[in-house]
């Protein structure tokens, strides 16, 4: 019986446990509930992966109402991939959160942190799994509102202004998405995403309502993805948020927004409308290339390592949009695989920074000088994540860059492949600055006696780093599912 209701359970368990966490005031009980909820969600997503591989598309009717009338939870290859990313990162970061400085900061209100964390997880999973457009907006807002709360918990007072800026820009983005959904409903009379895609040809591809809906959707999603000119909220939000929260959000929130873009552009509007009738591929490619270079160059000049990683995230999102702009199965595969690999990379790097912050209270590059001698395992994890970020062979990062280059060469655009390689080289510059400071410089006087990070913080970071290497060597699952998803997306148009 449980197997039949997995799609609903995967969202409901975090939601119920979030409400339970508010009622359970004691820190330890709330932690146990949160841990069990995230692990149960991850287990459910893995079971859904197995089911989706065997059965194809799984459709679940909420409330027993059949799809065009009711809300449908629809699991296909792309969805289940995203569910695994979100719940996987969620279940690794949850035990990390317990010992991080964050919990010592919030003390007796720790149960509220767990509740917000579970609500964010529930919202992100809900966005990934739903097949109804307005339901997607509702879950998107659930996850966004809880992420504003989580970011505002930073120690620095600039966390508050960062959360406020993210709130304003994120709400504008979400409101654009809801305008798009409204215009689509006006043109087709349905809210179910597959139903809209079937009714859209009848509404007419030249229909100004449909074109306006497309425009609003792309801009709204771009605000949430932090695509190049609309990325202003991301560096501040990830820098000043607590490391736990940065790790969780950097690995999941933008990926889910890229999923929204993929789902609407390819499944709802269709390849023919989005790329042949409207010239959308060129702006995506140009913005992606700008995103790959400009934030990376800015990252080379930053002194706060978290800010370096935040700008690096904006650049990596450029890679994902580049794959989208290539409009081919190979390009989409590269994009989707990069969503997975980047989640592993950035999750690992931010968790490592959390370990460093726990010991020395700062992520400034000068304060981190010479720390590799006192915290060898932590810096080794940073090097591991860094190798993946650059794209050294045998790491997950290499796999995504490889597929991206193959997709570009497939279309005959060799200069694009050259640009991809050059931007990876820029990543070497900003990562080498950190590694050089950590390994080859003398530590400042007051930090000579620093011990290794506690195991509770080190183990989750190392799990993600090792996952980087594992998925760099054995790509059958990550690339296999991504390819299935890409074929389904391209085939639907």
């Amino acid at each position: 019986m449980l197997k039949a209701h997995l799609p609903a359970l995967v969202i409901i368990i975090p939601l119920i446990c979030a409400a339970l966490c508010v009622l359970l005031r004691r820190k330890d009980w709330a932690f146990t509930v949160a841990l069990l909820a995230t692990w149960a969600s991850f287990a459910g997503s893995c079971l859904l992966l197995v089911r989706a591989m065997n059965e194809g598309v799984i459709s679940y009717e909420m409330g027993g109402w059949p799809p065009p009338f009711g809300i449908e939870l629809r699991v296909d290859a792309l969805n289940v991939y995203l569910l695994i990313i979100v719940s996987g990162i969620g279940s690794v970061v949850a035990p990390y959160a317990r010992n991080s400085l964050l919990l010592e900061y919030v003390e007796d209100r720790a149960y509220m942190f767990y509740s917000a964390y579970l609500l964010c997880l529930c919202g992100l999973m809900g966005v990934s799994i739903t097949g109804d457009a307005f339901n997607l907006f509702v879950f998107l807002e659930i996850s966004s509102l809880s992420s504003y709360v989580l970011i505002a918990l930073g120690f620095d007072r600039r966390a508050l202004t960062a959360a406020y800026q993210y709130l304003v820009m994120g709400t504008i983005g979400a409101t654009f998405i809801v305008i798009a959904i409204g215009l689509l409903y006006q043109a087709t009379g349905s809210l179910n995403m597959v139903d809209i895609s079937e009714r859209l040809p009848k509404a007419g591809y030249g229909n100004t309502t449909v074109i306006a809906a497309f425009a609003f959707l792309v801009v709204g999603a771009a605000l949430k993805i932090a695509l190049f000119p609309l990325h202003q909220w991301l560096p501040n939000a990830y820098t000043h948020a607590p490391s736990t929260v940065s790790a969780f959000l950097a690995a999941t929130a933008t990926k889910v927004s890229v999923y929204i873009l993929l789902r609407f552009v390819f499944t709802v509007f269709g390849v023919r409308f989005s790329f042949e009738i409207l010239p959308t591929a060129t702006p995506f490619l140009i913005l992606a290339i700008l995103a790959m270079f400009l934030p990376s160059i800015v990252a080379c000049f930053q002194t706060n390592v978290k800010r370096v990683l935040a700008y690096s995230s904006v650049a990596q999102i450029g890679y994902m949009i580049l794959g989208l702009g290539l409009v081919s199965v190979a390009g989409l595969t590269a994009s989707i695989v990069h969503m997975f690999n980047h989640a592993l990379m950035k999750g690992a790097l931010f968790l490592v920074l959390g370990c460093i912050f726990y010991r020395i209270g700062s992520c400034h590059i000068d304060r981190m000088a010479g720390i590799a001698r006192r915290m060898p395992w932590t810096m080794a994890a940073f090097v591991g994540g860094g190798l993946s970020l650059i794209g050294i062979p045998l790491t997950a990062g290499f796999i995504s860059k490889w597929y991206l280059i193959l997709a570009a060469l497939d279309k005959g655009w060799w200069y694009l492949a050259v640009l991809i390689v050059i931007s990876s080289l820029i990543a070497i510059i900003y990562l080498w600055r950190v590694i050089e400071a950590a390994y080859f410089r003398e530590p400042p006087d007051d930090l000579k006696e620093v011990s290794e990070a506690p195991l509770n913080l080190l183990v989750p970071a190392w799990i993600l780093v090792l996952a980087n290497f594992y998925f760099g060597i054995d790509t059958s699952i990550s690339v296999g599912v991504a390819e299935m998803a890409a074929k389904a997306l391209m085939g639907a148009g």
């Binding site: 307005f134 807002e141 505002a152 007072r157 406020y164 709130l167 304003v168 709400t171 504008i172 409204g182």
Partner: protein, 118 residues
């Protein structure tokens, strides 16, 4: 401009949306930005309810002797969107109260200059 009288709802939507966005961008006071955000969201509500009206339809409440009702689905969507807007405003105002406590001001320029001097 054909059929201007029938479409004046949508003109109001455009005016409200642009006014809201302008307030968010042009005003430096944090609370005024939230007001602009609210105006922008209000325009979305008017948009949804405008296209739910069916010509000759009454309010979507079942009653004897009435055949044509307006579409009730967008009304439900707007209830949800209004609550989302309320939650966002409440959260934004809570952040502004704490920013006031930490910085002593709610003008964006002052906050920027305080941050830059750090």
């Amino acid at each position: 401009m054909a059929d201007f009288e029938g479409l004046y709802n949508y003109w109001i939507v455009i005016v409200l949306a642009m006014a809201g966005l302008y307030i968010v961008i042009a005003r430096g006071n944090l609370i005024k930005k939230l007001v602009g955000l609210n105006v922008f969201q209000a325009s979305v509500f008017v948009l949804y309810i405008s296209f739910s009206k069916v010509s000759g339809g009454t309010a979507p409440i079942l009653d004897k002797g009435i055949d044509v009702y307006s579409n009730p689905l967008p009304h439900v969507l707007i209830l949800t969107a209004i609550v989302v807007g309320v939650a966002t405003t409440a959260l934004g105002l809570a952040l502004v109260v704490r920013i006031r406590k930490e910085y002593g001001t709610i003008e964006e320029d002052d906050i920027h200059s305080q941050d830059e001097s750090m």
